[in-house]
Symmetry: C2
Subunit: 276 residues, 2 copies
Amino acid sequence: MKTVSENTCFGGTQGVYSHDSTATGTEMTFGLFLPEETKDGPVPILWYLSGLTCTHENAMTKAGAQAWAAEQGIAICFPDTSPRGEGVANDDAYDLGQGAGFYVNATQDPWTPHFNMWDYVAEELPALLGENFNIDMDRQGITGHSMGGHGALTLAMNLPGRYRSVSAFSPIANPSQSDWGRKQLSAYLGDDETSWAKHDASLLMADKGFDGPVLIDQGADDQFLDLLKPEALAQAMAAKRQDGIFRMQKGYDHSYFFVASFMEDHVNFHAEALWA
Amino acid sequence: MKTVSENTCFGGTQGVYSHDSTATGTEMTFGLFLPEETKDGPVPILWYLSGLTCTHENAMTKAGAQAWAAEQGIAICFPDTSPRGEGVANDDAYDLGQGAGFYVNATQDPWTPHFNMWDYVAEELPALLGENFNIDMDRQGITGHSMGGHGALTLAMNLPGRYRSVSAFSPIANPSQSDWGRKQLSAYLGDDETSWAKHDASLLMADKGFDGPVLIDQGADDQFLDLLKPEALAQAMAAKRQDGIFRMQKGYDHSYFFVASFMEDHVNFHAEALWA
């Protein structure tokens, strides 16, 4: 593991690190905020998964999360959204290939050798953090924005016991029924839609739900509402009697101005579960 | 108008009053909490509509609303749920007739002469309060529980501009598709289901929505979930991009212990809109 940068931030450290990933077969980069309290003992961790076109950097610089994480004494990790680099498959479209890993393990060519973001986020990166930082891996929460909200919700529901809480900002909520999803799931997983179900938050919610609290924020003026399909998730949460809150936020769009506006609520929501 | 009782309560007055109603052709009784501030000038008002089998008294004594209304300086009115008395039609079932007015104007015998709770709550009682108490009728909010949540939501969406905010505790959310609804709407309004649409919160939400904020609380362990159908309302709110919050509250049932637990949130939610 290599230190790319470390900056003091709200009394803690905002670091960027890179490492050779077994899961993706590439060098991967991630951001990690550690609060001051990590000097005294292991701290809980909140995962923040980013959306289409993002790297590890977007939320780390624009979401304002460190202020609240510092206040709550929890770490936040910002993984990248896909493998990258020469020799890694890509597509001209912004929503497929590099920057658009969709948090799945690809089974189809040309994606299969590198696009294993599920294993990377669920297994490899947590193990790496546990070995190298003073983090309590028994206290994990997960959130994300857009494609990252999809990732957070699908990881949380597929790995019961792993995360104590899950939240999302304007998640891609029903990708098996959306142009943000059908194209990518078909490309990465093939045309057998039965393999897609574990990567659709609304289907998972209807089937399994989540064994902990859920918080969803969606901007009412989001320019991508037709692609995100929040109503499918809202319906599934209510029908499942899921412990959770779904908030439609008047006037907000899909941007990081929206994410930043409600970051305090999300960090505090996770902190309550992580410190319980 | 006759004063039945007045009790000092959180610095204000909890009153019970009765009057001869034109809308129902009966004597009607209501509860009214007035905060201390009503002595200095007109105060906003929050309507609380009650559920099946309730009178004006249940919420007035069990919901703990006065504490928060006093803190916020707003009045709360607790109407009865139907006309009552000898000569008023009734049914052996708890969910039809007296105690079960469903906030409609009946068009069918034997209900039509007295069961006009829509006109009573929407028109006659507000006019009476405006004449007799120091209340600012330009600042109204409305809430309710179960059948009363149904009443609050349907009144609010059918009378745009009347209420600044609407909330509900475990409302009967989709009565045209529920045994809490089909029986009563058929009895009061007849079998032509087109006349039912304005009395179904989920259909109204899909069609009109509400021009203001909405807050819904639903207990996840509510024993009547199959009758309440919260998922229909959650879906409609999200699909409409309604400014609002839908909360599924883990561990709570349909009782007033649930209502009381979240009353502070609802009063504060309305107060914010009413004092804006």
